[in-house]
């Protein structure tokens, strides 16, 4: 991904987090410094087919995904989040990021339904493009874009 694409991805993430989660752009920043391995990861992804074929994915640690869910649902900091809501909320976050990224592309196509799991399933021939590392409230969230062969 070139610098323009990274800037566009950051603009999308900023818009999504501001509108859906935080109400302002402050809590989301570019990640600075080395990128550590994510402990207890959770990944959400959405695939596009039919025109541009590829995948948009968001990876973070499970506790951060719980906090994102609480923020989306305007829940208190220590309120219990059921797994169904975690998968729904995190998947919808990925869906909105992926949908906005796809809208930037000239090729039409169909966006699939969002999926959430512990690890990203491999796709034969998929080519990873440069990702975008974000800090949300200081926690690492990785946005990655893949092109299918």
């Amino acid at each position: 991904m070139n610098d323009t694409a990274v800037d566009q991805m950051y603009a999308i993430a900023e818009q999504v987090f501001s509108a859906m989660i935080d109400g302002d752009v402050g809590p989301l920043q570019p990640w600075m410094g080395d990128v550590p391995a994510i402990v207890d990861p959770i990944v959400g992804w959405v695939d596009a087919h039919g025109g541009w074929t590829g995948r948009a994915a968001l990876t973070t640690s499970r506790p951060v995904a719980y906090d994102l869910t609480r923020a989306l649902l305007r829940m208190d900091a220590h309120e219990e989040v059921v797994m169904e809501d975690l998968v729904d909320a995190y998947g919808e976050l990925v869906n909105v990021v992926g949908g906005n990224f796809k809208a930037l592309l000239p090729a039409s196509g169909t966006l699939g339904l969002p999926m959430v799991a512990d690890t990203l399933p491999e796709v034969v021939g998929a080519v990873p493009m440069e990702g975008l590392n974000l800090a949300w409230r200081g926690h690492l969230i990785i946005v990655s874009i893949w092109m299918f062969g």
């Binding site: 999504v16 509108a19 989306l72 796809k102």
Partner: protein, 120 residues
């Protein structure tokens, strides 16, 4: 009170749409459907004043729902709230008879901007 049917396979997103409608000042009577099939059944059972539908849903998509409603003679005002707001999709929505398309992420302001001209 205006009666709206919100169709989205994400319960979380339905909650966010309802919350945003309230924030935008629309204290409407709200019903929910989790896909196009459920939404069509809800329309057949008790036609609402407005349908706000996601585009990409399992079982029956939003655009299929709109087509099914129109083919059954329901002229219910219909609009999309979807994660894709490309020019191509807006054109497809308009051609199918949708009033407007609100792309996610949205704000109370973007809801008002889309809905006010329709209510006027």
């Amino acid at each position: 009170m205006l009666r709206v049917l919100i169709a989205d396979d994400s319960r979380v997103m339905r909650q966010i749409v309802i919350r945003t409608l309230r924030q935008a000042g629309y204290d409407w009577d709200v019903r929910e459907a989790s896909d196009g099939v459920e939404a069509l059944a809800a329309v057949q059972a008790d036609e609402p004043d407005l349908v706000l539908s996601d585009w990409n849903m399992p079982n029956m998509t939003g655009i299929e729902l709109l087509g099914a409603m129109r083919s059954e003679g329901y002229g219910t005002p219909f609009a999309f709230v979807t994660s894709e707001g490309s020019a191509e999709m807006r054109e497809a929505a308009e051609q199918a008879g949708a009033l407007f398309l609100i792309s996610k992420p949205f704000t109370a302001e973007s809801f008002r901007d889309a809905i006010e001209p329709v209510l006027a």
